[in-house]
């Protein structure tokens, strides 16, 4: 779950990390009122869950409340980097003396949180990593020890801070780490951490919460529940409501598999034979007939899907259940589409028999099936 900037900043505030004065607005009028309250030049920032917003024109500056209203009017309802802007953050514009970066991220290799710092703030960390990797200072945090104040001081000294600023930045990093742990962050960043005459301030805020940990953060869902759907397509939102593990793609062949790896491999194989997958849809382990039915029905309603490829390797998943699900979906469907089924494993014979009786042919090999489905729609 990726929080929007204003949501992340609200969590930052809970942890005592300094953020600029400001609030979120969903109408130009609200933006004007907030700018009046702040009574200083403001930044009006599109709230979207994707990076590169500044370059894409998603951040505007305003000297007066009238300008803030106008800027909000321009952003709200527009699309920035393909995402519709529904809210803007109106906040005090900072007097920047410099831009740093502080981050805490899960590092797979070391199986631990890593603290990251660089004096090259204000651009995406990936860009810094590509251009001047030596400017990024990393510190692996032992999960059983945590980030200690002296670690934090060491790290921020490496990016050139001394004296009071070092202590201030170390304190912010410690808070960011505590936030990461307590909020189950996959990634949290302050980029840029602005050097201003009044001290250090988180000019932007990023917080991606581990989806698997959301059961511990019901309050977060209550506070910010809606926005996590912002980055999703219409169909992805629909799939989420149905409880399906679904990612929308651009092609014409609807794909259903069981198991994430097998489903990915199925997409890859379809593409290898010249087809273009319309989606990723993983039934998971041991799907009952009604989940199969829901998945098939869901793909049938996608106008860009011209044919379906269902690839099942039965382990916990039973082929007869899958067959029943497919048949039920066809019975329910208004419009049927060509379907290729590849199905082996647990209760394979029973499943195949059911499908054959229903006039649906079943193949043994994934590659053969991929070739068949591509040929069905005439390749590309």
């Amino acid at each position: 779950m990726r929080l929007l900037e204003w949501e992340a900043k609200s969590v930052f505030r809970d942890y005592g990390i300094p953020v600029p004065e400001g609030r979120v607005a969903s109408t130009p009028g609200e933006a004007r009122i907030i700018a009046e309250e702040i009574d200083r030049p403001v930044a009006v920032k599109a709230q979207i869950p994707v990076g590169g917003r500044g370059k894409a024109g998603g951040i505007l500056f305003a000297e007066t409340p009238e300008e803030a209203e106008e800027a909000a009017g321009r952003l709200l309802g527009s699309r920035v980097r393909g995402v519709e802007v529904k809210e803007v953050l109106v906040e005090r514009r900072l007097a920047l003396e410099g831009e740093l970066y502080l981050g805490v991220a899960v590092d797979r290799g070391s199986r631990a949180y890593t603290a990251l710092a660089t004096s090259e703030g204000g651009v995406e960390i990936e860009e810094v990593a590509a251009r001047t990797p030596e400017r990024i200072i990393r510190l692996t945090i032992d999960p059983l020890e945590g980030l200690r104040p002296h670690h934090a001081r060491w790290l921020v000294k490496q990016i050139g801070l001394v004296g009071r600023r070092m202590l201030e930045a170390a304190d912010i990093l410690l808070r960011l780490y505590r936030l990461a742990v307590e909020m189950d962050a996959e990634l949290t960043e302050i980029n840029p951490l602005a050097l201003t005459p009044e001290g250090l301030t988180a000019a932007d805020a990023r917080l991606n919460v581990d989806d698997n940990a959301l059961f511990r953060h019901r309050d977060l869902l209550e506070r910010f529940g809606g926005s996590e759907l912002l980055g999703l397509t219409q169909r992805e939102r629909e799939a989420r409501r149905l409880g399906l593990t679904y990612v929308e793609l651009d092609g014409e062949i609807g794909v259903i598999g069981n198991g994430a790896g097998l489903t990915m491999a199925t997409l890859d194989t379809v593409q290898l034979y010249g087809g273009r997958p319309a989606n990723f849809l993983d039934l998971g382990g041991g799907a009952p007939a009604d989940r199969v039915e829901a998945a098939v029905s869901f793909l049938l309603t996608d106008p860009k899907v011209e044919a379906l490829f269902i690839n099942i390797l039965g382990g916990i998943t039973r082929c007869d259940d899958v067959a029943r699900g497919i048949i039920a979906a066809r019975e329910r469907a208004g419009a049927w589409k060509p379907v290729v089924v590849r199905m082996i494993g647990t209760r394979e014979e029973e499943g195949r028999r059911l499908l054959e009786e229903a006039g649906i042919h079943c193949l043994d090999s994934m590659e053969e099936a991929a070739e068949r489905v591509v040929s069905l729609i005439g390749g590309r």
Binding site: R108, R111, A112, N212, G261, L262, A265, L267, G315, M366
Partner: protein, 292 residues
């Protein structure tokens, strides 16, 4: 360097979370396979039996009554870390964590505690580990495996079965197959497993089944390139069609920024001398060519 322990015909295991639906079902299948499941644990259900296996309230009580080496865990995600700590306290090794959906923070702590004690965690979110024909400590369908010469290391479940099935059909068969798990944090990575297979006399070649996300495959490639693993190796990487920022089912299968693409992994492995398969069915053919 990490010590890795897998399973064999001697391994005696406890099933934690044995009274749940999954636990019961797979206890039966593991027993059918010949795995020595000597006890089960579900707090509050002590005194029951599942498939003839006695159930205890705590692992400690199971150890009072039985010789136990290893554990397999089917406990739901919020409680799974505690089950792991209980197994660690009992010094069971390996600990196979089937559970899906454990938070990353818990996984990091779990793995750190296991490493400190020199105990192997297989998973989480793994199909488990099987020594073909001897011991299946996992949920993989027995049918696709035939005892043979190839070791399999995989981040994926069903894709492993798909590929193992081909390896079995082509007549090579498998020695030991281990699922690393589909999460970003797992107890083992490819390198840990490669070290084990390098020493395993029954393994003549290894298959690496990777997917998008992270850089475990790239690191494995470096390890192989540096001579850490010297037997023939074939790889398959899933997720060439994946879009950055979209999680492809597994929590671990996500391309973040420019990192973790299938392309990067395939190139690294090829550069390390690993044969990289285009399609799952090619894996067995490439192995056959390498092993003759």
């Amino acid at each position: 360097m990490r010590m890795v322990r897998f399973v064999d015909a001697e391994t005696r295991a406890v099933v934690q979370g044995i009274t749940g639906r999954q636990g019961r079902f797979h206890t039966r299948l593991m027993l059918e396979y010949g795995t020595k499941i000597v006890a089960g644990v579900t707090p509050g259900k002590g005194g029951e039996t599942v498939e003839g296996v006695p159930v205890y309230d705590t692992v400690a009580e199971a150890l009072d009554r039985h010789q136990v080496d290893a554990s397999i865990i089917f406990v739901p995600a919020p409680y799974a870390p505690d089950a792991v700590y209980e197994a660690l306290d009992a010094e069971l090794n390996p600990i196979v964590v089937i559970t899906e959906g454990i938070p990353l923070r818990d996984e990091m702590e779990m793995v750190a505690r296991a490493m400190r004690r020199g105990i192997t965690i297989v998973g989480p979110n793994t199909p488990g580990v099987i020594k073909v024909g001897e011991c299946k400590l996992g949920i993989m369908p027995a049918r696709v495996f035939t005892r043979g010469r190839v070791g399999v290391i995989s981040r994926s479940g069903t894709l492993t079965y798909e590929i193992a099935d081909h390896i079995s059909r082509i007549g090579l068969g498998e020695s030991t197959c281990v699922g690393l798990g589909g999460d970003p944090i797992t107890g083992l990575d490819f390198i840990d497993a490669l070290r084990w297979f390098e020493e395993d006399p029954e393994t003549e070649a290894v298959v690496l089944i990777g997917e998008i996300g992270g850089d475990a495959e790239e690191r494995a490639a470096d390890f192989i390139a540096e001579g850490g693993f010297t037997k023939p190796a074939v790889a398959y990487i899933a997720g060439r069609t994946a879009k950055p920022g979209k999680r492809m089912g597994h929590a671990g299968a996500i391309i973040q920024g420019s990192r973790g693409t299938a392309q990067s992994k395939m190139e690294a492995l090829e550069a390390a001398g690993v044969s990289v398969a285009e399609r799952p069915s090619d894996v067995a053919r490439l192995l056959k060519a390498l092993l003759g």
